[in-house]
Amino acid sequence: MHEYSIVEGVMDGVIPLARQNGASRVSVIRLRIGTMTDIVREALDFAWDVVCDERGPIVQGCRLEIEPVEPHFVCMACGHEYDADRLHPRCPVCGSGQTLLTKGRELEIASFDIETPETSDDES
């Protein structure tokens, strides 16, 4: 259940920036998560609801959107670039194991939407 720490990390990143931008509420947060990480969606959703409640009105009811990122490799031996599932990272062309993972381990906050007091329908 490290998803709880992940959600805390998201809130630590988003909330101060939302306040700086004059937000009364954050309505949606978008994450970019590589499939090479071991994040479980159900556990993330559970932690999300708990942490959003704890952090107060600014993120209460905030939606979570996830963009998955599939693994992408570059072969250090022959230069071939390829997508592969996480269990078969070897280069499909030359068979080398000397490969560089260039995508697939992302744990990123991509963006978030805010409501500001001037624009919000509900200022409470």
Partner: protein, 227 residues
């Protein structure tokens, strides 16, 4: 009307930043740091004790013990003569850099050549948290089975060294060594594999010699960087 704020920031930015600070501190203190990962019951503490026995005449060693509760592991290590600090995570399933920073303050003795961080027993949650370590080592014990790399690829892919512990129990289990090595050669071809038994001492010399060499190289590199 809603406004979209673009970020593109790592979620664990705070942990990553603290891990980088730790790496700098470890380098200044001249300490080689191992982050030791495994499932519960694979023999992390026994392996640390056996490693200490193999290296105690050559290096000064400290241990940071991470557990959800209790200090039984730290006591075992202290009894064996090493500086030890216990971190109780209070339910958290992994260690984070902020905890290591506090433990490093508490350990006091900064003349250590080697510090081993015994992470919380967990094959999943520990993987994404950089602790500023020099080397990431994992243990898989024979009774856990040779198919673990397929079920938990993340930890096997993020570790530079894999210790196959309890190798003395091979006759009692259906652990296929060739299949295990084949899986690792697919998942993480650069990983070093050592078959060991912390209990009988089998294979421990090869692992300790490898670690000793890495520590010496690290020291040589650090002193070259300072001069």
């Amino acid at each position: 009307m809603a406004e979209t704020i673009q970020m593109g920031t790592p979620i664990l930015a705070k942990n990553d930043r603290l891990a980088d600070e730790l790496r700098t501190r470890f380098a200044q203190d001249g300490t080689f740091v191992v982050n030791l990962l495994s499932s519960p019951g694979s023999g992390k503490t026994s392996t640390i004790l056996a490693t200490m026995r193999g290296l105690a005449d050559r290096f000064r060693i400290g241990v940071i013990e991470g557990d959800i509760a209790s200090d039984v592991d730290a006591l075992r290590v202290k009894e064996a003569g090493a500086a030890a600090v216990q971190i109780n995570t209070g339910g958290l399933c992994h260690l984070e850099s902020a905890m290591i920073a506090r433990a490093w303050d508490a350990i006091g003795d900064k003349g250590l050549d080697l510090a081993i961080i015994e992470n919380v027993g967990n094959l999943v949650c520990t993987v994404d948290f950089d602790l500023g370590e020099t080397l990431r080592v994992m243990i898989l014990s024979v009774p856990e089975g040779d198919d673990k790399p397929l079920k938990y690829p993340g930890i096997f892919q993020s570790s530079q060294v894999i210790l196959v512990n309890k190798i003395d129990t091979l006759p009692a289990f259906d652990f296929d060594r060739a299949r295990f090595r084949d899986e690792i050669s697919q998942l993480n071809p650069n990983a070093r594999i050592f078959e060991v038994s912390a209990k009988t001492g089998e294979g421990m010399d090869a692992w300790c010699d490898y670690l000793a060499q890495r520590i010496q190289e690290h020291k040589a590199h650090a002193s070259a960087a300072r001069s």
